[in-house]
Amino acid sequence: MDSTMQPQAGELLLEVRAEEIPARMLPGAVQELGTRLFEELMSRGLSPKTLDSAFTPRRLVLILRGLPSKEKDRTEEVLGPPVKNAFDAAGKPTAAVAAFAKKCDVAESDLRIVEAAKGKIGKTLRTFAAQLSRPAGEGATGGGEYLAATKSIIGRETVALLAELLPKILIALTWQKTMRWGAGTGPWVRPVHGVVALFEGKVVPFELLGIQAGCESAGHSTLSPKGFPVKGVEDYLAALASRSIVVFPAERKRLLLEGMTERARALGGTLVEDSGLLDKLVAICEIPGVLEGSFDSALCSLPREVLATSLRDHQSALTVEKDGQLLPVFLTVMDRPDDPAGRVRAGNEWVVAARLADAKFFFEKDRSVPLADRRAGLAKLTFQEKLGSYAEKSARLVELSVAMARAIDPGLVPDVTQAAEFLKVDLATDMVKEFTDLQGIVGGIYARAEGAPEAVWQAIYDQYRPAGAKDALPRGVVGQVTALADRLDTLAGFFGLGLIPTGSKDPFGLRRAALGVVRIALEGEAEFNLEAALGVAFGLLREKLPVKGVVESGASVPSPSVSPAHRKAFDQLVEFLRDRLTHVLGERGFAYDEVAAAMGADGGVLDFRGIAARAAALQSARQEPDFAIVAQAAKRIANITKGSEAFTFTGASCSLEAEVALWRASDKLHEEIVAAKANRDFVAALSAVGRLASPLEIFFRDVMVMDPDERLKQNRIALLQSIQTEILWLADLSQVVIERSA
């Protein structure tokens, strides 16, 4: 036998074989397994040189190399009984002393007296001998004095430690769903069939869910099911390779991608890459065989999105394109190296043909009825029990979108109206019932085929964008208006019903909807007045939302259309959207305090672009030396004016030079802020505030605000209040954390 096949010093091989573990859970499970074991080993001073994890649907694998064979010998400080129990009235040691010394395996003379509190050892006070030589009674009752010993611990063999750690970690792995089997064994993700656990070639003895760890593995479940003995890591990998099993997922992914790319080229096209689908294929095979199939080219008349979705969702298959068109072929995985009888290909083609025939049937049936005639069908589709049907939602969308469009550019109104009217119509098509992922896209395709204006069909097509933090926005302002309106209506409706996401629960996808609102508001082609739009949205839902509790008389409402009874929901939604904004700005690299200061500005709670621009201005200005002075002063002003009533400033009451200087400077600031407000020029506003640094510094040095003369004091507070008001339009600078230079 090749000597490289012998187990190496310090290597650990762990393989757990189970019935097929769900693809979605595999990557996370081996990751957790590796991390947990690594942490446990490191906490015992056992550092492996390398740690590799791998999986197939039927195996979880860990390979560690360079692991010490034994824990280091070490010492541990042990706290014993309190001195008052350890010595009798005559100062002689009691039985507790002997017992403690025995427990720690040390001589009594090696014990010492320490300070201790709450079980923690503090400083050593004296030796045991010194304690004995003390006069009887002295210190014996001293509180907080304990015996302590230094215990030597002989490091354990790694294999013994692993036998304890591995089953504990394996059993505690987190799975999204677990099961029991047989007489009630479990819970675990699937029944376990075999465990290989070898440290330096020797079995690590433990039991997992009724299975004893050993040195026998097995091949592919149908092609090479026979068990085989394993000596060590290299031997194991060679044995799998000889059975065509590729245990490392990254390697399977590479092989699949290469194989598919090459097949696509041979077919005269290029592979349409889909990394997410490829990851799924990697997790459903042990042998990454590429399977190619074809279908009737007449089916290429189906919209590309429909073909690709059917192939992806039903057959986990990738597509091949040429000149922007899909070729009548598909590529997927088979868990075997080859297809000797052509049965695998024939079977897959049979299924694809049936699926695509279905899709074609739905497509033709859908197209036989114009979208306009389908609108009536929306009355039968419930959006939400209390919020009504999709027909009602569509009517609200038209009004809300038009109100928003009118505020931006009345020329948008015709396209926005048409897009909003047809936005949800595809929910009444067979295609969307069959392929729910194609919501919006199907409507867009049908509208395009019926000759709708580009802005309109694109708005329908793109309505669910952005789907996440990186997805593109709807193309064009018409799509952005309707997508915003759709989300605002949904958010206002659910918040109005009190269906607000809590913790990790968000069954209606409201966080994603709010993220969409934030991104469109920040990045859209137009400036949207979210506050006004939200007022309209709540107004349109007025009759649908419950009126609960007593409405405070005279409660202010954000917009005349919003019922005072819905004021709370409105405020909760504003906070929810602002939370999302905080999150987005954080992800874009703004520091926490920059975001907090910009969010604290007194300039429109939903003016998201303004808030983002303020954060950007703060980020660049905070490098300036004056900025720290102003921020420091802002904190001081905030402290002084906190809880104070508003006073009126009179220039005539200024007595000191520094006071007058600040007054002049604040007048100048006022003018500059008025100009900056007009242009929304936050950078200019910040430099204007910066120019206040010197007069503020001198003011706080020379002037005592809390003067015994009440009149002087009130006037000085009034001056600071007026400055604070100016600065607050820009940002709440008191939120900025000032780093003190060393």
């Binding site: 097929e20 769903k177 099961m179 399977l291 000797p340 079977g347």
Partner: protein, 308 residues
């Protein structure tokens, strides 16, 4: 290539060889083999059980008047229950495919996650859809709960879609073309008229008021049986309600809001029957439990007690 009836014979023969009671279809309308009392009720409680049977399964809304080559209102499931689930159940299943004539040396067999849930039965399980060359040929489920009750021991349910498998193995273009008898009549000759007429009945003719009255009547009857302590008749009435609900649904007579309420009525009956069945078996002293090493009870119904 095996004909439809040869497939049934091969599976029956194989699973009888594994110690299963070879049972007959339940003689009522059901939507799936799971609803047969020999599955739904027998998986409850501690008694071991192995059973196999064909169950014609009616899903009124799936009917296509015999026009669609892939869809039927009534298809036949081959159903197997192994309780407790033996550790080699996957291997037993793979061998059953070989018994059906599937040569796994040339096919691609995969188990993809697919968990099963039947809210109207208060039941759920964990398992896979079994894919052969990219086609789903079986459902493989470890039952975890039934009738709202946690299960122990765990039963494994194997469900084969007989029409689909026959069709797929022969790569036929239409269900109606598959051979029922080798060199004899085909599926269409046996079943087309059934599909056509029942599609018409389910979608157009069934009298909604009559169905509603029957639903109310069977629900009431089920409650009366439960009160009288006879659970099997009570369960039969619950199955009737379930089928009547499916018929009403196919007729488009159940509104979205009404739907939840009707489903709850069926669910409540199923759960009440499950609890009562377990109590009735307990009163009988769980007759299928092995009493001792030489107990005749263990093999009483041809049940082989789990070997794993």
């Amino acid at each position: 290539m095996k004909s439809f009836q040869e497939l049934i014979l091969a599976l029956s023969d194989y699973w009888a060889g594994q110690g299963c009671v070879l049972q007959q279809p339940y003689d009522l309308e059901v939507g799936a083999g799971t609803m047969h009392p020999d599955t739904f009720l027998r998986v409850l409680g501690p008694e071991p059980w192995r059973v196999a049977y064909v169950q014609p399964s009616r899903r009124p809304a799936d009917g296509r008047y015999g026009d669609n080559p892939f869809r039927l209102y009534k298809h036949n499931q081959f159903q197997v229950i192994l309780k407790p689930s033996p550790l080699d159940v996957q291997q037993l299943y793979v061998q059953s495919l070989e018994a059906m004539g599937v040569d796994l040396a040339v096919h691609d067999l995969r188990f993809e996650e697919d968990n099963w849930e039947a809210p109207t039965l208060g039941a759920w399980g964990v398992g896979w859809q079994v894919m052969l060359d990219g086609m789903e040929i079986s459902q493989f489920t470890y039952f975890q709960q039934a009738g709202g009750l946690e299960l122990a021991p765990i039963s494994c349910e194997l469900t084969y879609g007989l029409e689909r498998i026959t069709m797929f193995l022969g790569l036929e273009k239409s269900i109606y073309d598959i051979r029922w008898v080798p060199d004899g009549v085909n599926y269409g000759q046996v079943r087309w008229q059934d599909e056509h007429e029942f599609s018409k009945y389910n979608f157009e003719i069934a009298d909604v008021d009559f169905l509603r009255r029957q639903f109310d009547g069977y629900e009431n009857e089920s409650r009366r049986c439960l009160a009288a302590g006879i659970v099997l008749p009570a369960y039969e009435c619950a199955l009737k309600c379930s089928h009547l609900f499916n018929l009403l649904d196919a007729r488009g007579a159940v509104s979205v809001t009404e739907r939840v309420g009707v489903m709850k009525r069926v669910r409540d009956l199923a759960i009440a029957c499950a609890r009562e069945y377990l109590a009735s078996r307990e009163r009988l002293g769980f007759p299928l439990l092995p009493k001792g090493p030489d107990s005749p009870a263990a093999g009483a119904a041809g049940v082989e007690v789990a070997r794993g």
